[in-house]
């Protein structure tokens, strides 16, 4: 699924982050799915989504280099599929 970097997103209220050495675990209490945020920078991005006008702005704020953007967009798309984040 194409991920729209220019939209605003939020962490789903039913999803909870648990910090881990590699990044974080996310548990969705609604659909009971466990997801993995595989880098700490991705955790930062996810935490910044709520306070930024777009996913792209959150990536900038987290200091994600331009060359890494496609990989982060793919990770965010997967998190949308598992309902960890959703468009607001």
């Amino acid at each position: 699924m194409a991920f729209d970097l220019h939209r605003a997103y939020r962490l789903n209220p039913a999803a909870t982050l648990r910090p881990e050495p590699f990044g974080a675990l996310v548990y969705h209490f609604g659909n009971r799915r466990l997801s993995f945020l595989k880098t700490r920078q991705l955790v930062t991005v996810v935490r910044l989504l709520d306070s930024h006008a777009s996913a792209a702005a959150a990536l900038d704020a987290a200091g994600v280099p331009a060359g890494q953007r496609p990989r982060y967009a793919a990770a965010l798309a997967a998190l949308t599929d598992s309902e960890v984040i959703d468009a607001r």
Binding site: R18, F22, G23, L25, F29, R32, K38, T39, L42, A75
Partner: protein
């Protein structure tokens, strides 16, 4: 991102801030005496955690963000405070998945469960027919389990789980199990028989043959929707890896709290050698998870040992620690059910008296295959 799935597995090897898959056995009391019970349950232990102590454990799990606990026993619903503990846990963001033989799942209990969020129910059967099931689990246990399933379905619980331990005698019934599950709108879960607890005495007669293991591998590969608790990773040496985490999670992502509060590396190694401590000690479960010498040691990279020269080590990771331990095999060698046959050769060298003794545990009586002394469930 620099990290991919492979490095995530490496991160798991180093351990997590809290377990993902925590099993908590609430009581050793059980109305059944299954021949393969991995906790050798039967009689309640007078030292079992009190209600207050259980509530404190739940508080800890909430602080550690253990998202859900797998509750078992014994038969957990025999604890008079079972329903209170369940409600308290769910209210404190620790979801509950509990395993039961169904003895207390009457219509009223089923309706109550259907109203509760964050609760999963797993009903155990070990045969798709009463004769195969009752030979393992005791006379009347199949009828009891089916009645509990009927009650859950009637109450509109939704997708409960039907849990099977794969044995030599039920592996030919996998399709029938699947039909039973589909008939209820339930999900099938099949897990591996370990030589733990009372199963130590029966493993040689009950574990699937090499041909049956190959059959099981192909059956599971074609049905990724069947849950396995990631317990068959030793079969991944047969070809493409099975879905899930293909490594031993003991002490890394997996842990067990037993009814008296003892913490073990995994649910299949109830033995002093794998006991990290007790939740009643200062610092409780949290300190044990983070600082126990045993658990820290288990998080170090596993030595391939005798498997180092085998090209399939990356696929199977040497198999299950508990299966090796209780069959008397070295922990850094092949699994007793190694699909390449290395385990069988090693087993032939093991002297019976050298095998670690599981002990009688909390069994009420000595249990023999085919002549089960369990009371018929009422």
């Amino acid at each position: 991102m620099p990290a991919d799935t492979a490095t995530l597995t490496e991160q798991f090897n180093g351990g997590l801030a809290a377990p993902i898959c925590l099993t908590w056995e609430l009581t050793y009391a059980c109305n059944l005496q299954c021949v393969h019970c991995l906790s050798a349950s039967g009689r309640r232990d007078p030292r079992e955690l009190s209600t207050q102590e259980c509530l404190r454990v739940i508080d800890e799990l909430e602080r550690m963000q253990v998202f859900y606990a797998n509750i078992g026993g014994g038969e957990p619903t025999l604890r008079p405070d079972f329903w209170d503990l369940l409600d308290y846990s769910v209210a404190h963001h620790v979801g509950i998945k509990f395993s039961t033989n169904g003895v207390r799942l009457d219509k009223r209990a089923a309706r109550r469960l259907a109203r509760t969020d964050y609760v999963d129910v797993q009903i155990s059967i070990d045969g798709a027919t009463a004769d195969v099931n009752d030979a393992i689990r005791g006379t009347g246990s199949f009828v009891t389990a089916r009645r509990a399933m009927d009650n859950l379905a009637e109450a509109g619980f939704g997708e409960f789980k039907i849990s099977i331990v794969v044995t030599r005698h039920n592996v030919s019934q996998l399709d029938e199990f699947q039909q039973i599950a589909q008939g209820y709108g339930a999900r099938l879960r099949v897990t591996r028989l370990r030589p733990s607890g009372r199963a130590a005495d029966h493993w040689a007669d009950l574990h699937p043959t090499a041909a049956q293991q190959r059959q099981l591998y192909h059956w599971l590969s074609a049905r990724p929707d069947v849950l396995t608790g990631d317990s068959f990773f030793h079969l991944s040496a047969l070809g493409a890896p099975l879905p899930g985490l293909n490594l031993c999670g003991a002490g890394r992502v997996v842990c067990l709290i037993d009814p008296v509060g003892d913490v073990y590396a995994c649910p299949f190694v109830l033995h002093e050698e794998f006991r990290a401590g007790n939740v009643r000690e200062p610092g409780g479960f949290t300190r044990l998870w983070r600082e126990s010498e045993l658990l820290l040691r288990l998080r170090e990279p596993a030595a391939a040992g005798a498997c180092a020269s085998c090209g399939m080590f990356d696929a199977c990771q040497g198999g299950c620690m508990a299966a090796k331990f209780f069959t008397g095999l070295p922990l850094d060698g092949p699994d007793p059910e190694c699909v390449l046959g290395h385990g069988e050769r090693e087993l032939a060298k093991v002297c019976l008296p050298d095998r670690p003794q599981a002990g009688p545990g909390h069994s009420r009586v000595r249990v023999f295959l085919g002549q089960i002394a369990a009371r018929a469930a009422t």
